[in-house]
Amino acid sequence: MLNLLYKDLRLAINPLFFILPLFTGALMLIPGWLYFIVLLYFCFIMLPNVLGGFKAQNDLMFSIMLPVRKKDIVAARILSFMTYELIYVIIAVVFAAINLRLYNDWPMFFLSPNIAFFGLIFIMFGLVNITLFPIYFKTAYNYGWAAIMANIMGVCFAVGMEILALKVEKFYVFMHLWNPTDIIYHWILLIIGIVFFIITAWIAYLISIKRFEKVDI
């Protein structure tokens, strides 16, 4: 399975895609922006391109002939996506730290890229994954519909959170850490986000292997 993950990362993905998060991450330096977009770039660009690459390269036939089980292929694919998502998040975190130092006093209309914000980001990726993979593994080949649905899910969550912050004052206050004692709750939200990210991936895996077992290659 680890070998499959290595294969996905080494063979299937254009190395350019590992540089891309540096550019999108740097967008964190735009003051007062809608920072969800930085991470949504993953869903907009990387996700369809990577899945398209697998299809164009006939990866499914290649993988199935290796000494692996079908469920290993599912696990490796989901883990490889979680890896890219983490790369995007980690790079974004670095730029977000710079952002917070530079623009701490700037007025924030949208959510500020702090610890709680990244908790929401993990929840967003969790929702994206649980939408994407079960649809994708109905064929493990066609990815259009799965990518569209995953993108809709990501965008809806981001928009929803931003609207919530604008409409519900308590939430806005919490997210912008106006009560410094709330910092502990920020960390809790981050941990909840990470746990959600892992659990959704696990559920996506369980549904996907069931569907993929039925696929005729």
Binding site: L11, Q57, N58, F62, P67, V68, K70, I217
Partner: protein, 288 residues
Amino acid sequence: MNALEVKGLNKSYEKFHLKDVNITLELGYIMGFIGSNGAGKTTTLKSILNMVHVESGDISILGQNFIEHEVELKQNIGYAFGGTDFYTKKKIKNITKIVKRFFENWDDNVYEQYLKKFKLDPDKKVSELSEGMKVKYSLALALSHDAKLLLLDEPTSGLDPVARDGLLELFQELVEDGTRSILFSTHITTDLEKCADYITYINNGRIIDSITKDDFIGKFYLLQGPKDKVKLLESSMIAFKTNAFGFTGLIERNRFKEIEGVEYAAPSLEEIMIYYAMKEDQNAEFTI
């Protein structure tokens, strides 16, 4: 020991059924898998590898159940699916680097030897290889992890006669020490006449026969005779055709008794295939 044993394999698609497929291939032999296009060769090979979902059937490889020991058994199987290319823009040395990680028995020395023997340039991209070279690259990979069973789907299609002959000679070399088996599908019957020990003939999803090549050819007679004798043989022949000078037809030897004026001879594999296909067409006409 049997390299491969397929028992009672069934698989239905909307317009095509694989019906009760049985195949046994002993270790150390070459089996040719023939049938016209669409007869079910690729589906059978894919079913053997658990790539498609079958309704029923038992597959054992090297004496072990495939579903239960899929990962271990795949270590001992080499594949080449003709006409399907992966990662064509990658250099073969880079693909090898990935593939070798999966195999416990991988031997770099063996790999290097086969690269040399097959004149494969590791810096070439897959897309730059000819069809024959692609098959050889697949074989080089399979042999480097010491595959005992080689499953090759149409390895000779797209090859010129010289390359094809070379590949068939290689097949015989590979089984010479008796520790490897090759199952390869083809619709080019002369491939089999040159090197196959066993023949499995599939027609419209059904196995017509799976026996030694000599027995298979020995099972039939090709008949030739005047038109007025057709009536006598019509019901026992597999299929026949008539022309201005008489008829020719295929019959199983045990259903044939000598008739004056009717010549009989051993048919070629191609002739057997043609008459079976004719039978299929005739049946189809009746059902319409």
